[in-house]
């Protein structure tokens, strides 16, 4: 049995001095944002968030930021770390240089320090009707829907989004086009469209296939690269584009066929 944990043990934690350059902005006091520098004695095991907490507790009580779970599932603590959108609880100081620049997530208005205004993001999520729209109401006495592991797998990946908003920071279109509802919201629409219990695709199409939806995406794929949960919003958007296009052409080629309410589009797919 491997027991090498004990060999490294009794050593005191390794400490490295790291310079943090943090964007500060308090609308009560500041005309514009500025950078403030802190020297932080970082331990080997620390994530970026630990260093920020150290600053808050020991160096500067006025620094404001969001965090909670410290295990990469609540989605609160996304930041720009040396220019890259990152979950600060999931990014290790030991993998970083001796100077680290911390900024709020790009492409969002800054509310204070590292806190961004995320109301627009939540409105975008809500706009795609992210809930089951059933063919008919189902009573509790009818029990659960049958859903095979294969049917589950079709949408499961798209359920993994923790709403951390890193994809909005990474996406060039979000930056250029204020109306674009963005990768996470489109992936969420796709998640419900692909669920065998749902028939709401046409109800979602108004937003998803509109000029704020999928057609704004230029398929750079930055969203999928930056996603800490491997949701792959780019794939979701691409699949939705194909589906929407198929619907569009069917209207001309087969006017007698009503557009499928349900989601799946690949030939031979059944709900």
């Amino acid at each position: 049995m491997k027991n090498d944990v004990s060999e490294e043990t009794e050593n005191t934690p390794v400490v490295r001095n790291v310079q943090f350059e943090i964007l500060r902005y308090n609308p009560d006091q500041d005309d514009e944002p500025y950078y403030q520098t802190y020297q932080v004695p970082c331990q080997e095991e620390w994530v970026i968030l630990d260093a920020i907490n150290y600053i808050k507790d020991n160096l500067d009580r006025s620094l404001s930021y969001r965090w909670s779970c410290h295990m990469a599932v609540c989605g609160s603590c996304g930041l720009m770390v040396n220019g890259e959108a990152t979950l600060s609880c999931h990014s290790f100081v030991r993998e970083m240089p001796d100077k680290i620049r911390i900024e709020p997530l790009s492409n969002f208005p800054v509310a204070r320090d590292l806190i961004v205004d995320m109301d627009g993001f939540v409105e975008n999520l809500a706009s795609v009707k992210p809930y089951i729209i059933p063919a008919e109401e189902r009573g509790l006495e009818d029990g659960w829907y049958n859903q095979s592991p294969a049917q589950l797998e079709k949408y499961q990946q798209y359920t993994q989004c923790i709403n951390c908003m890193l994809c909005y920071s990474a996406c060039p279109q979000v930056g250029l086009n204020e109306g674009f509802i963005g990768p996470a919201a489109l992936a969420l629409a796709h998640r419900y469209n692909q669920d065998s219990r749902d028939v709401g695709r046409s109800a979602r199409e108004d937003v998803v296939s509109s000029n704020v939806g999928i057609w704004e995406c230029s398929f750079v794929g930055a969203c999928s690269e930056v996603c800490p949960k491997h949701v792959d919003p780019a794939a979701a958007i691409q699949q939705t584009k194909i589906a929407a296009t198929a619907d569009y052409f069917k209207r001309f080629l087969m006017p007698w066929v009503k557009p499928k309410k349900s989601s799946s589009l690949e030939p031979g797919d059944e709900k």
Partner: protein, 584 residues
């Protein structure tokens, strides 16, 4: 001028219980105005971190009786049996409702909902969504809540006080964190669903937001905190961070070994080790027993040393990579990220960490408190179905069962309400609460928030940890009382309005100190060992004197007063808790 927002039902907290309550009200009573307040956006709530699953009877060979018995014996007979009876019957309905709302429950090859075994469980009944059950439940509830325009959300509103007058609740005051403005939500009824208080302790699976705010708010208006001495250690957290490694990992066949690669649980009445996995034995024993076994192993020198203190080893290697990826993807991800250990190749160092507060706001089976119009549900409440030790996977179900019940009963209260309160008087009380928060800005304090918080953490760990004694608890009670005095002189260095997190941390610390005091005093007065409350000086359970709930009632400048209330027993008389070879 006091800013007033009128509503019918104000719900404080938008995690599992708060969202479930809100949906229940909005779906069945579209005319009711709901204000859903939370200090974080709903999807940040700590329900998100629950991994293993939610219990509800589904299998042919299982029945309500089994779930009832596992829960009551798991809770060392401190559960109210009428509440447990109600709970086990509602459980499958609520979980099915979650399925209709889109929760991605894991499935059997036939397309039915799959269930897995959990600690202390006779037949497997834990519904799960891989090992991210709480995450999926929270997001399903949040997304479903978006369907209902009746739910008006107030995200990032930190609630500061319940407004109470002559035994009735008239709303809640809250700080709009983005502007710094205080508002009064004049509500006809209020549901508290703010979660637990694990942050009172230093090593915890709980997120930063779990600071017992709702417990403190109810406590300060005279609602007793019940059974606060019962705090669950989860046996398998990562050393240092306290990150949870789900019990599901043992349900799938993981084993716990000490430094000699020996399955030590067989030495603590949980064996024999084989055949494995086996329900209600060894690694699938209850959480309190497993955490206590760790304490003994540590004293025997059988633990392994890590940079973050002593640990035992959770070995999953025999499950193989495929099963680990399929059933326990999050466990692998967490171990690799935060411990640099890949469980496919190496065992994961783990230790007991504070996980859950069994105690909480005293409610009856209707989720109602002693203040008329004030309800509570979820971890902040104590119904009580968890008794002295919560059975794994009962808490996610509890959020649903008692969240929806709180919602229904809050509406019923609103509909039966007779008007005729002096609104001026109510506004004056609310104004007082607002002024007391604003007072923090006026003062020059000298006590540091992080220093006091640290001291509180150390006091509770040292005095009210896995094992306790008269001496350790007396010291903790004394030290916390001193801390309370010092907190009155707390220093707020940030005096600005927008997202003042210094202020929020000060208010949270105030909540935690009150809750910590209730925990320490309640533990001091319970001179027996039961479930998670283990006394080195009173090692036996004492049904004669303590088959009763502790009720701690707030006193402004003194320790809480302690009373007791008999446990409700309907059909299961207290017996010995038997796990391992002799368990039935």
């Amino acid at each position: 001028m006091l800013s007033v927002i009128h509503c019918d039902v104000a719900i404080i907290g938008a995690g599992g219980a708060g969202l479930r309550a809100a949906i229940e009200v909005a779906r069945d009573y579209p005319d009711i105005n709901i204000a859903l307040l939370s200090k974080v956006y709903p999807m940040r709530s700590h329900t998100v971190a629950a991994e293993g699953g939610a219990a509800g009877v589904v299998k042919g060979e299982d029945n309500f009786e089994n779930h009832f018995n596992d829960t009551v014996s798991g809770g060392d007979w401190l559960c109210d049996q009428d509440a447990v009876e109600f709970f086990v019957h509602e459980a499958p309905k609520e979980l099915t409702q979650m399925e209709h709302w889109g929760c991605p429950w894991s499935r059997t090859p036939e397309g039915d909902v799959a269930v897995r075994p959990f600690g202390g469980m006779k037949v497997e009944r834990t519904w799960y969504a891989a090992d991210k059950t709480g995450f999926h439940m929270l997001h399903t509830l949040f997304q479903t809540s978006l369907k209902y325009p009746g739910i008006k959300r107030y995200d990032e509103y930190y609630s500061t006080a319940i407004v109470e007058h002559e035994g009735q609740c008239y709303g809640v005051t809250a700080l709009d964190m983005r502007t710094g403005q205080m508002r009064f939500f004049r509500a006809k009824s209020v549901i508290i669903a703010t979660g637990g208080a694990g942050r009172v302790f230093p090593f915890t699976t709980n997120g930063a937001i779990k600071t017992g705010d709702g417990m403190a708010m109810a406590y300060r208006v005279g609602v007793p905190l019940k059974d606060m001495e019962f705090i669950q250690y989860h046996p398998t957290g990562l050393p240092g961070t306290g990150i949870l490694i789900t019990e599901g990992s043992r349900g799938e066949g993981g084993i716990l070994v000490n430094k000699d690669n020996y399955r030590y649980l067989q030495d603590y009445d949980l064996g024999p080790p084989d055949p494995w996995p086996r329900k209600k034995a060894m690694e699938l024993g209850p959480r309190d027993r497993l955490s206590q076994a760790f304490w003994h192993e540590q004293r025997k020198g059988n633990t392994v040393k890590t940079a973050f203190g002593d640990a035992v080893l959770l070995d999953l290697r025999h499950l193989g990579e495929e099963k680990i990826n399929q059933r326990l993807p999050m466990v692998r991800e967490l171990a690799v990220s935060y411990m640099s250990v890949d469980p496919v190749n190496e065992p994961i160092p783990v230790r007991p960490v504070i996980h859950y507060t069994m105690g909480g706001i005293d409610t009856d089976i209707d989720a109602a408190t002693s203040v008329a119009g004030l309800f509570a549900a979820g971890e902040c409440a104590c119904v009580s179905i968890n008794g002295a030790n919560r059975l794994g996977s009962n808490s996610l179900t509890e959020l649903l069962v008692f969240g929806s019940r709180a919602g229904r009963n809050a509406v019923q209260f609103v509909n039966q309400l007779k008007s005729g309160v002096d609104e001026e008087k109510i506004l004056a009380i609310a104004q007082q609460e607002v002024d007391s928060v604003m007072g923090l800005f006026q003062r020059q304090g000298s006590e540091s928030i992080p220093a006091l918080r640290n001291e509180m953490n150390q006091i509770m760990e040292a005095g009210a940890g896995i094992y306790r004694s008269e001496e350790s608890l007396a010291l903790a009670v004394k030290q916390i009382a001193a801390l309370k005095v010092r907190f009155a002189d707390v220093d707020l260095s940030d005096k600005s309005n927008v997202y003042n997190t210094d202020l929020i941390q000060a208010l949270e610390l105030g909540s935690m100190i009150d809750v910590a005091e209730a925990m320490a005093v309640s533990a001091f007065n319970r001179r027996e060992s039961r479930g998670s409350h283990q006394r080195l000086d009173y090692v036996e359970r004492n049904d004669q004197d303590y088959l009763r709930h502790t009720l701690a009632t707030y006193a402004a400048n003194a320790a809480p007063t302690i009373d007791y209330r008999d446990v409700v027993i309907t059909k299961s008389q207290p017996a010995e808790r038997v796990y391992g070879g002799d368990s039935k």
